[in-house]
Structures are given as structure tokens and as C-alpha cells.
Symmetry: C2
Subunit: 587 residues, 2 copies
């Protein structure tokens, strides 16, 4: 039962569901629905799809997540970055506006859903760790820039497009003179209103007597007001005849239920973008879900989130939608509006379903420029210029991964950008991991402590070399350790004993073990014994399953000081250098 | 000068070169030459190339390495595993025996040479760390099996071939009835003699009065004896007429000097195999070079080795050869025979050059079966059945990477095998790195020490959670730490303070920092303060370049005990559970 319940999180909350929770959830659903209608239309536009596809992607996927997701308040649906990635991937196999393009978008949702669900069933959520914070934040900044610039043409009322910055510039430049004044007026006033409403509406509403939290929620309805005002403006001004592009006829009714086509040719073209969409979507969604869960001391299960998001995307594919994930803005609204359980998501689905039946005729005259303004206002907050400064100060290699991701995403598109970011991050990590820290140590006079000879005044002996390893011994640094020990050894002609101080070695893998064995043999070839000291318990347990303890040409000591005391006796050695003299002076 | 000398290691030894070194080097060169002649012919056969190409690959590359390599005793030339990889890669673009096939082999050497040299100049030797010991050893075992089985057809005198085990079986099965008795006799007796000579010749020679080290070297000439005997047998028995395949006409003379063709179509097909050949060759060569250098307390420079091997392969490409690397067997012979400087390699090149001028006519009647026997005897020692057993005992994940490499190499060929091995190793590593160890700790009664609550009887407090992190905080485990802390937090309803004990945290990258900040904010949202204790010096230096120390809703303590003492005062907390009762009993 408990195992089964792990895959059906609904069982955890549905039995305690009561009228209080119902009221909260319905209230939150109404608010989220009002916010989602313009956003869904706009993101579908961004993805190069008919606006109604955005509504379709906001119905069944929400129900699927309510059944299988572990976050109580996450709101799934179309989001900006995933819409951009969908446009880029679908655009690479079909022309915008064709049936093939829509089919490609549905296939992306289907593939991505399968991949997420499979990763969830094999508990492979850890793969998302490949995306470091600098890479994600670089990717989101670059995506925000690409999205905002891609919408400029709708504000200006000209042709253009492209999935990279150079292509967008090349696409816009020749048409820049064709701008349409009424479109610009609508676009710019929508932009101005939407930017103001984000910051200015709440204080105004508070002055008007609303409670702060109510004012906050009402301010979130700003976009729907802009939509209504823009429709009225077009209607009253007869602006369609003056060149203002509008949404046009949207088919009314619930989404079509259709089994997605299985076209292996298309799958082989789209598997990589689908995988990237899955991972980016998962990483974004989980971080939103974790943030919200922590506020109420709830927990989410990242692996089960994969299953929930997978089901959502499969549901999107079966109902004419496109890839979805948990969105930040809508989830925060859902949370703030008081949603208590995933049922709120199901009620939102009902709301969007009603909208797609009854509301779509009213949206005929909605100007594209207003939707573009909605998108621009939403994504400008994604663009983050502080992170590069912080990274530059904190870590040059993280800065490099961040910058590479931004530049490559802008120059070559979202897919190349993510891949370059991940690869850069991994290479820099492997580079650092292959050069860990170690230090030659000596005894602090009059103590049992051993410290780095380069930083402290310590006593050493010509026949003994003490090396402290500040890292686990794994394949990435196995060769480094051999190098390090042999180089230090070459510096001490009278050397007879090497002691590795292992207090900071948390694990030793088979390559690390092999390397220790190689060091042992090579030292033995040169007439030197290898000793180990202060090995941690679990590491020692593992070493007992190998031959190293028998093969070692030296001794394993419990403490480093015992090792040194023993070896001094063996070699009747005296300290070397100035300390030598100093130590004798003390006697 | 010193920087320049780093790229021209010859400057280090050439000024001290004297008659003693000359004598030792010439002696070693003669012995290595005798050993190399049959081996070079045999490995060229294995690579699917005319035998003389093996000789060509053993002349200029040796001179290039003598100039640029850092090992005093490494002997470069054709080796078994690289020959197999060459056969697989060249076979994928051309048919054996064609001019295109030879061109592909030369291109592989050229590309591989350029890649190695570039990696050397950018000091990227660390990339070889991607190959863990279990992956390399699995790859070499599987290659040994593939090589041995690929030679069976020459011993039986039948047709066949293929670069994977299934293909070999499919290739051999229909022809198995066509075996040729005289070929089998020659092949099996060559095999028997060569196996015996490896173990039995030395003791016999010692009994005959030779010194052990001389006997050892003479025994290494066994293959050349087998070659001479086999040629005589074919000549005297007229065996070519009875169906014994022989080497046939080999063009006499020095290798042709020719600039390799630059065919970008071919390059795009061969860059991946060339990269794999480079990395495998480099890893093998460096481990041989390090082993030998350590015996004489010498040092090699892995990055400069890349340059030396790169130059060798470029030299091979300019002189009609194919990819080369430092070989284990020949280097050991060179070392044991007393070679003192890389000049020995240059003298060996002269020896092989003389052989290719004067000796090739004598090799007309050399049976292919004898060369196949030479190969089988050489590679049987590569096959290692002990490693899987050791790995199974020591580390299941290393065992998994090892087994995956063997199975995929046998089933899908050398390229897929290496890639699967590297990817499996990395995924298992990332999986482990993303789940590091941490422990909730409590105070050992009557002390200032803090230990894992699951392993020791310790005191804890209901308002305070102490977590010891046993790993650096990096992007691979950043999400894990958030999960871990939030899960532990959810277990303690009265919690007010979390203290992270950071004594084992060797570094914190930007993702780890971001994660700490997220934990700080999320705990604050739940009314809990985050404190840190025992941060290492270099980590603290880095954190001072970030905002975390200002944003922290808690305090950074020098020792964990001070943290606990302070927080107990703050919360006037009493210990919880049995220890609570116990502690009160003590008062």
C-alpha cells in the first residue's frame, strides 16, 4: 500500500478533504483561471501555435498532475521557456502554421511525457543535477532575451522571426520600415499598463481600501483587464481595417481527444529537443515546487514529480496540447490565493475548459500585440544581470559556464545553448576534480598535530614524507595522486617511508584503489615503504574487501603521530633543515 | 629557456650523453629491433594493413618520440589494441586491401596526432581521467578476446572476419569446413612454441649456463626464431602449393615520405574513432611510462607525453604508417635491456629501417598463421579474469562499469564499448556524487564531540537540528542538500535552529552557494534560523566574496560546540527523548 501510495500521492490528501479545503481550492482556481487565460493564449503564440492550443494545454495536464504530482500547490501548464524551446524544435521540422508543425509540438509533449515518466520510474531524478545553477540561470536569461526580442515584431506589426539572435536581427531588419502605427499604439500601451500593474496596482488598491493580500491577488488580474481593454479598442476603433493583427477565429469547445501519431522518423528528429525540454522543465518545476512546499513545511518527492510531469505531458499530447511544466508565476498565485490541495489544479482545469467553450468567440478581436506585451512583461523578470557579477566575484569557472551558456543560447539557439552549458560545466568540474588538494605536512613542534609545510613552521625528516590528501580517491583524480606522490618522492633523495594521511578521504573507488596499489609497487621498486594513517571507518571496511592491506609494503596506523613516532624509531632519523638544528637545540 | 625545454625534453639529457649511455642504448636497440620485426608485421596484419606498414610505423614515430617524449625508456610503435581499433575504424569507411583503407589508416594516425598534440599544448591531459581503471581494464580484456578470436581464421586457414564477436562467429561459421591442415599444423606449432618460450625458455637457458638477465632477453627473441623456423618449413615443404597463406612480396626500402591527404569528408567520418584511439593510446602509454620512470626515480610529464605521442602519430602519417603508441611489452624489454635515454628509440628506428631495406625479401614465405600465433600469444596476457572478481567484491558500481564495457565491446565493437564504458562510469559517478553522505549529529554526553545519532548514544534538543555534511557542496549534490535538510526539518515540529557542521566541506561552488541561500530562505519562511559551524579557511575566504554571510538568518560559529551552547541559551532548550530524561537525572 505504501509503495502504491508513493505512485498515487492523491491518496495522501483525498480522505481528509473537507469543505474548508474545497472553498480555498475553488477560490484559488478562479483566480488562477483568470490569470491563465491570456497567458495560455500568449505562450501558444510564442510557441508558434494557434492560441487555442495554449488553452488545451491548460486542461487535461492539470488533472493529470492533480492525480500524480506531489506538490500541493504547483500549477502546471504552458510556460515561456518551454514554449520557446517548442518553437525552436518544431520549427526545425516543419513550417509555422502547418498541420505538421502542430503534430511536431504534440509529439514533443508525448516524447517528453514518456521520458519524464520513465526517468521517474527508474528514480533517475538525479540526472537533473547535471544542470548547475550557473548553467540554468544563464539559459533562462538568454531565453528571456530571445523571447522578448522575438515578440518585438508583434509590437511593431511587422514580419520577422528566428530562433537565434542573429536570425531575429536578420529577419527584422529588412521589414523595419513596414511598422504599423495603430499596432504600435496598442502594443506600447499594453506594455506600459502591464509593467505598471505589476508594481503600481497593489499600492493603489490598498489606498482604495482593499486588504493587502486581496489587492495583491486583484493586481494579478491586470492582464485580463488589458485583454478586455484591447479588444474593446479594436472593436470600437475598427482597428482590424487599419492593419492591427488579431487572434481571429478560435474553435470553440473542449480539446479534441486523439491518440498521438507514432512516427518514428519524427521521433528520431525530436528526441533530443524533447529530452532537453524534459530536463529544463523538470528542473524549473521542482525548484518552484520545493520553494512552495518549504513555506508550509511540506515535502515533495523529486522522483515522483517526474512521474507527475510525465503524466501531464502525455495528457497534453492526448488532448491537442504541447509541452507543459510547473510555472513559477501561476504557482505562486495559486499558493497565495490559498490553494490547499492539488484539487485546485483540477478546478482550474474546469475553469479553462469553460473558457474554451464559452469565451473563445469573444477573443476574435484580441490584438496579437497585446499578447506579445503579456509575454514581454512576463519574461523581462527572467533576465538577470546580477548573477554574472556575483559569479565573477565568487567563482571564475562557474562564471565561464554561465557566460558560455548565455552566448551560445543567443547565438546558436536553445538546444545548443543547454548542451554547451552542461558540457562546459562538466568539463570544468572534471578538471577541478582531477586536480584536488593535497599537502606535504610536518609536525608542529611540541605537539601531535601535523600541518602543511608551506604554511607553517613544522618539523620534517629526510627519510619520511607525510602527505595529507584532502579529497576522496576516485577515478577522476587517481592519476593525479600517482603524479603527486611520485613528484614529491623525487624531491627527497634519502626517502625511505611515505605516509598518506587519509582523514579527509571519504571514499576510495576501484580506480583509487588501483592507484594506491600502483603507488605501493612503484615506491617498493625504489626501496620505499608506503604507510597509511587515519583511514575512516567505512573506507577501511571497503579496503578489507581488497588485497591492498596484504600487499602494502608498510603499516596502517590509527593516528598520524603514531606513524611518525614508529618510523623515526625505525630509521633512527633526525629532523632535517633548520628545524633539525632547532630541534637539537631544544634537547 | 626552461619553458622551451619543457617542450623539447631532449635538451635535458643530450648534453650529458656519453659513451656509456651510447653502448647501453645501442644494445637495447638491437634487442628491441629483433623483437619488433615480427610484432610490427603481425600488428599490421591485425589492423588489416599490408605487413610492411607495421615496419613503416616503427621508424619515424620512434625518432619523433625520442625528440619530444619525456620517458627515457618508452618504446612507441604499433600495439595490439590500437591496431584493432584502426581495423574497426578503417573498415567502416573502406574495404580491407584497398588504397582507401590504407588512406583511412594514415588519416587516423594524422588526426590522432593532431588531437594529441593539441591536447598537449592546452595541457588537457586530465581528460584521460574520464577513463576509469575498471573501464580501461574491461576494454582491454574485451579487445584481447576480439583480437584472439579474429586471428583464429588465420590459424585454421579459412575466410572470415568482423569487428564484433557476433560478426566474427557469423563470418567463421559457414567456412569452418574449409580448414587447411598444413596451415593448422604451422599455426598450432607456432602457438605451442611461443607459449612455451614465454615461460619455459628462460629456465632452460639458465640451465644451459646463461645469466638470468641475459636468458630473459634471449627468450624475448623467441618470436624471431618462430618466424625463421616457419619460413624454412614453408620453403622446404613447398607448403604454399598446399594452401598455406604467406606474407608474399613486401616492397623493399625506406618508408615513403608523403604529406597525408586532407579530405574533410573522411575527417568527419573518422574524427570520433581518432579521438578514441588518441585517448586509449595515451592512457596506456602514460601508465607504462610512469611505471618504468618510477623504477629509476625519474619523472614523466603527462601533458608533454601528449605532445610526444602526437608528434609520433603525425610522423607515422607522413611516412605511410598507422596509429602508434607506447607499448607495454617492448618498453619493458627496452628498459630491461638497459636503455638509458630516448636515443635507444632512435637507434631502434635505424634497425627497423635497415630491416625494411634488406630483410623484407626474406619474409616472402613467412606464413600468416605464424604471425597470427604471435598476435594471439601477445594478447592472451591482456585478458584478465581476476579483475571482475575483485571489483565485484570491492565495488558494485565499478563492477557494473567494467561489465558494461566488456559486453558492449564484444557485442558492438571497440568504439561503442569505450563510449558506453565512459558514459556508464560517469553516470554512476554522478549518481554517487549526487547522493553524498550527511548525518544528523548529537553531543556525546560529557564531551564537546558530536556524533551521528544513528550510531551513537548522543544528546539532542527538540529546537536544534545539527547536520554534519561529509562532502563538498557542488552542483551535483546541491539539490540533494536542500532535500536532505528540508526532510530532516519536516521531522522536528518544534525546530527553531538548524546548524550545518562544515568541517568536511572542502569547497562550495556557485550551485552549492545558491543551495545554501535557498535553504536559508526556506528555513526563514518556516521561522527557522540557519547557522554554520567549523567552515574551513579557504571555503570561508570564498564565502566572503558572496552575500551569504550577510543574508544568513543565523550565525557562523568557529566550533560546533560553541554553536550548540549558544543556541541552548537562546531557546533555553532542554534535551529531548531518553537523553532528556537522562540528562535531568544527572542534574
Amino acid at each position: 500500500m505504501s509503495r502504491f501510495a508513493g505512485y498515487l500521492p492523491i491518496l495522501e490528501w483525498v480522505r481528509e478533504y473537507n469543505r474548508g479545503a474545497l472553498g480555498s481550492d475553488v477560490m484559488a482556481a478562479v483566480i488562477v483561471t483568470i490569470m491563465l487565460i491570456p497567458q495560455s493564449l500568449a505562450y501558444a503564440l510564442l510557441a508558434g501555435l494557434p492560441p487555442v492550443v495554449g488553452l488545451y494545454a491548460s486542461i487535461l495536464p492539470l488533472v493529470a498532475y492533480a492525480l500524480l504530482g506531489t506538490s500541493r500547490t504547483l500549477a502546471v501548464g504552458p510556460v515561456a521557456v518551454i514554449s520557446l524551446m517548442t518553437a525552436s524544435a518544431a520549427g526545425s521540422v516543419a513550417a509555422t502554421g502547418t498541420a505538421e508543425y502542430l503534430e511536431a509540438a504534440i509529439t514533443l509533449a508525448f516524447l517528453s511525457g514518456i521520458m519524464l515518466a520513465v526517468l521517474g520510474f527508474v528514480r533517475a531524478g538525479f540526472l537533473a543535477n547535471l544542470l548547475s545553477h550557473p548553467v540554468i540561470s544563464g539559459f533562462i536569461t538568454a531565453s528571456g532575451i530571445l523571447i522578448a526580442t522575438s515578440q518585438l515584431r508583434h509590437i511593431l506589426g511587422i514580419e520577422g522571426g528566428g530562433d537565434t539572435l542573429p536570425k531575429q536581427i536578420k529577419g527584422l531588419a529588412p521589414n523595419i520600415g513596414d511598422f504599423n502605427i495603430p499596432t504600435i499604439l496598442i502594443g506600447v500601451s499594453s506594455l506600459a499598463f502591464l509593467f505598471w500593474v505589476r508594481k503600481g496596482a497593489k499600492p493603489l488598491l490598498v489606498i482604495l481600501g482593499f486588504k493587502p493580500n486581496i489587492a495583491d491577488i486583484l493586481a494579478k488580474a491586470g492582464p485580463i483587464l488589458a485583454v478586455i481593454a484591447a479588444i474593446l479598442a479594436v472593436m470600437l476603433g475598427g482597428l482590424t481595417e487599419r492593419g492591427v493583427a488579431v487572434v481571429g477565429a478560435i474553435p470553440s469547445g473542449l480539446p479534441p481527444f486523439a491518440v498521438p501519431q507514432v512516427d518514428f522518423g519524427l521521433w528520431s528528429q525530436l528526441w533530443l529537443p524533447a529530452l532537453l525540454i524534459s530536463i529544463i522543465g523538470f528542473v524549473e518545476s521542482v525548484s518552484v515546487a520545493q520553494t512552495l512546499a518549504a513555506k508550509r513545511r511540506q515535502r515533495i518527492s523529486p522522483d515522483q514529480e517526474l512521474v507527475g510531469l510525465g503524466a501531464s505531458n502525455i495528457a497534453a499530447a492526448f488532448s491537442g496540447g504541447y509541452p507543459v511544466t510547473g510555472g513559477f508565476a501561476r504557482s505562486v498565485v495559486n499558493f497565495d490565493a490559498g490553494a490547499r490541495t492539488p484539487a485546485a489544479g483540477a478546478y482550474t482545469a474546469v475553469g479553462i475548459g469553460l473558457a474554451s467553450i464559452f469565451l473563445t468567440p469573444l477573443l476574435f478581436l484580441l490584438p496579437i500585440a497585446t499578447l506579445a506585451a503579456t509575454i514581454i512583461v512576463a519574461v523581462v523578470s527572467l533576465i538577470d544581470f546580477k548573477t554574472p557579477l556575483h559569479l565573477w566575484k565568487y567563482s571564475k569557472s562557474d562564471f565561464a559556464a554561465h557566460t558560455a551558456t548565455i552566448v551560445m543560447t543567443l547565438a546558436m539557439g536553445v538546444e545548443v545553448g543547454v548542451i554547451v552549458g552542461v558540457v562546459t560545466g562538466l568539463i570544468l568540474y572534471l578538471w577541478r576534480a582531477s586536480r584536488p588538494h593535497a599537502a606535504v605536512v610536518g609536525r608542529v613542534p611540541g605537539s601531535e598535530h601535523y600541518r602543511n609545510i608551506d604554511r607553517h613552521e613544522v618539523i620534517t625528516w629526510p627519510h619520511i614524507l607525510s602527505i595529507r590528501i584532502d579529497e576522496s580517491l576516485i577515478f577522476l583524480n587517481a592519476r593525479w595522486l600517482e603524479d603527486y606522490v611520485l613528484e614529491r618522492m623525487a624531491e627527497k633523495p634519502e626517502l625511505r617511508h611515505v605516509v598518506l594521511l587519509c582523514s579527509a578521504v571519504n571514499s576510495i573507488d576501484a580506480s583509487g584503489l588501483e592507484s594506491l596499489e600502483a603507488i605501493n609497487h612503484r615506491l617498493a621498486d625504489a626501496g620505499i615503504s608506503l604507510h597509511l594513517s587515519e583511514i575512516k571507518g567505512p573506507v577501511m571496511d571497503a579496503l578489507k574487501n581488497s588485497d591492498i592491506l596484504e600487499e602494502l609494503h608498510g603499516i596502517v596506523f590509527l593516528t598520524h603521530d603514531r606513524a611518525i613516532a614508529h618510523l623515526i624509531q625505525l630509521t633512527s632519523g633526525e629532523p632535517e633543515g633548520e628545524d633539525h638544528w632547532h630541534a637539537r637545540g631544544l634537547i
